[in-house]
């Protein structure tokens, strides 16, 4: 168990900078998740922490000890890989015990530890099988067993659930969290799936283009995103965006959404006359009797939950470049979504009135894409 610190870490491949000035402190026993779209540098950061990739600058320490120049085997960490990387020619028993053997532990002691890890992970009946004779979920648990048996200072996990089917993924997700809480080992977990990040992490690090966008708890990232990228990336579906000019209204600042006016938070009064980007989460938009009228273009019915699509009014449509909203490429910038949980039946082309709760509106600067106020 240990703290982990990234201090001004850089990584470049020739002229390409994969990681830029990466600074992060992870507390002892914390479950920290690196999340971001593919190519954001999250796996590179993890590999540098593991010692599998050299850094191009800065230092990394684990438990207060500078490990930047140490090889992977000397950092006292354990890693679970996306494809599990089980040694195919060894039995489950030997796979789990391999790290202990490499650290010179006596055979009897190794056996006792392997048996204990297998008992915790319910792998005892499979100890003498080869990995190819196991199911995906069992292989996943062997990979976990190989990590926990070492009792390392930190667990590193590189998208360990992405090869499991949806149901097993949800189940294993909670098992990993329970195991981590019980063992209390500092864990750094990499994923591109923001649902995994939100449900598992104590601390989430959102990355894009090799730069940390925001560090915080699930709550903080969801309710107080730093910029448009985090707002769009966190949440499923991500935040809706539209732009408009801040105008002074009778009861405070307003902006026009289509033909109607919507009230803005009081802090926008200082931005009167400026063109801003506004964001509101699909679950915060409400269907009501008054307010801007929109026509539904698509209804996605997920049982009680429904995702309603409508076109952003032409004058409010954003022209964000694709990098600002990475991770939401499939999302049409001219479409906004409403997430409703009710028993009402909605149909395509239906007209609805919406209310925009003023305390749920986020305001972003169109020049920097950063949150304002």
């Amino acid at each position: 168990m240990a703290t982990v610190r990234f201090d001004h870490i850089k990584k470049s491949y020739g002229a390409v900078e994969a990681i830029r000035d990466f600074n992060l402190d992870i507390e002892d026993g914390e479950f920290c998740v690196f999340v971001g779209p593919s190519g954001c540098g999250k796996s590179t950061a993890l590999k540098m922490l593991a010692g599998l990739e050299a850094t191009s600058g800065g230092s990394i320490s684990i438990g207060g000890r500078d490990v930047t120049e140490l090889g992977p085997g000397k950092r006292d960490i354990a890693m679970v890989f996306q494809n599990y990387a089980l040694y195919p020619h060894m039995s489950v028993r030997k796979n789990i015990g391999f790290g202990l053997k490499m650290h010179g532990m006596a055979a009897r002691e190794i056996n006792a530890k392997v048996e204990e890890a297998a008992r915790v992970l319910e792998l005892t009946p499979y100890l003498d099988r080869k990995p190819r004779a196991l199911s995906g979920g069992q292989r996943q648990r062997v990979a976990l067993g190989r990590a926990i048996v070492r009792e390392p200072k930190a667990f590193l996990m590189d998208e360990p659930l992405s090869n499991l089917d949806a149901k097993l993924r949800v189940q294993t997700r909670s098992e990993i969290v329970k195991l981590q809480k019980r063992l209390g080992v500092t864990t750094i977990y990499v994923t591109h799936d923001q649902t995994e990040a939100l449900t598992m992490a104590d601390k989430i690090v959102v990355m894009k283009g090799g730069v940390i966008q925001q560090v915080g708890s699930a709550e903080e990232l969801f309710h107080a995103p730093n910029n448009i990228f985090v707002a769009g990336f966190i949440g499923s579906p991500g935040m809706n965006f539209f732009h408009g000019t801040v105008e002074p209204g009778a009861d405070g600042p307003v902006t026009r959404f289509g033909d109607a006016e919507i009230a803005l938070p009081e802090r926008c009064a200082a931005m009167a006359g400026r063109d801003m980007i506004f964001g509101i989460r699909p679950e915060h938009l409400r269907v009501s009797d008054t307010g801007p009228a929109v026509g539904l273009t698509l209804v996605e019915n997920l049982g009680t939950e429904k995702i309603l699509h409508f076109h952003t009014p032409a004058q409010n449509t954003l022209e964000l470049d694709s990098t600002a909203l990475a991770g939401e490429e499939e999302r049409d910038a001219q479409t906004m979504l409403i997430r409703v949980i009710d028993d009402r039946r909605y149909s395509d082309s239906e007209q609805l009135n919406l209310s925009f709760p003023v305390d749920k509106i986020h305001v972003f600067d169109p020049d920097t894409n950063e949150v304002v106020g």
Partner: protein
């Protein structure tokens, strides 16, 4: 599974039988020739199985000629070539497969060009080198000459195999505390066993069947003759005992079969499956 049409089965079996017959006939004819006196060879109609098989031809071969010496020389050369070629090509293939080397791809192709040169082209420079190093007449001359031709091909065979292995296997071993060289011996080589077996078999067979290098570098030293040279020497100026030559050829084929049977279990692929997903 869909049931095969009877005509399809017939065509399939016919093709298999004809192919096997074509491949096996020379072996069968070698055995038949060995077991009858040389004088019977040109008799017409030919005998498809000798009436009185002359099994003593094998004993004659061992008694009248230094067959055991030729045999052991060839075994030594083949194993030494196999081990030397594998040792070099494992390291070369691993480096080409795993490290981002500057000009690595060009280097890989360059290695292959030496395979494109015919052995006859290399034989004079090699002879000059071996003469100046005093290796002419030594078994090592053939081992080294063979390795120069076998290593490039083995390197490419193994590189192809290493490329299919997920690098995470080695990374996992490194994180587990294994040294980089230990990773090659404990993880990469056992997992690559089928590829290694195929490569080893290739090196052994090529080296075993060598005639050209042996004939050029070893002729001056009777003690270093190989099987192929020995069998060729049985062809006389006036009389050729074809039955003895064929008996020698049969015995020369046996080690290849034994090596194949031993390596066959490693040749079965799919060992790497199960490491991931």
């Amino acid at each position: 599974m869909e049931k095969r049409h009877p005509l399809g089965s017939f065509a399939l079996y016919t093709t298999v039988i004809v192919t096997c017959a074509l491949l096996l006939f020379p072996i069968y004819w070698m055995v038949v020739t060995a077991l009858q006196p040389a004088s019977n060879l040109r008799s017409y109609p030919p005998q498809f199985w000798p009436e009185d098989p002359q099994w003593n031809v094998f004993a004659d071969l061992l008694e009248k000629h230094p067959f055991v010496l030729w045999f052991s020389n060839t075994i030594l050369i083949a194993f030494a070539t196999m081990i030397l070629s594998l040792a070099v090509s494992i390291l070369a293939a691993y480096a080409l497969s795993r490290f981002r080397l500057r000009g690595g791809q060009g280097l890989g192709l360059f290695i292959l060009t030496s395979k494109m040169l015919p052995a006859t082209l290399l034989i004079i420079p090699l002879f000059a080198i071996f003469r100046s190093t005093g290796l002419v007449g030594s078994l090592w001359s053939v081992v080294i000459a063979q390795a120069t031709l076998i290593v490039p091909f083995c390197t490419w065979m193994l590189k192809g195999y290493f490329d299919t292995m997920p690098p995470e296997l080695e990374q996992a071993a490194l994180v587990d505390g294994c040294s980089p060289l230990g990773t090659i011996f404990r993880i990469v080589l056992p997992v690559a066993a089928p590829g290694l077996a195929a490569t080893a078999l290739y090196a052994f067979v090529v080296s075993w069947s060598d005639f050209l290098f042996g004939r050029t570098f070893l002729t001056t030293n009777d003690e270093s003759w190989t099987l192929q040279m020995g069998i060729a020497s049985l062809k006389g100026e006036f009389v050729t005992e074809w039955n003895v030559i064929m008996a020698g050829s049969i015995m020369a084929s046996i080690p290849i079969i034994i090596v194949y049977l031993f390596l066959e279990r490693f040749l079965v692929g799919g060992l790497a499956s199960g490491s991931e997903k």
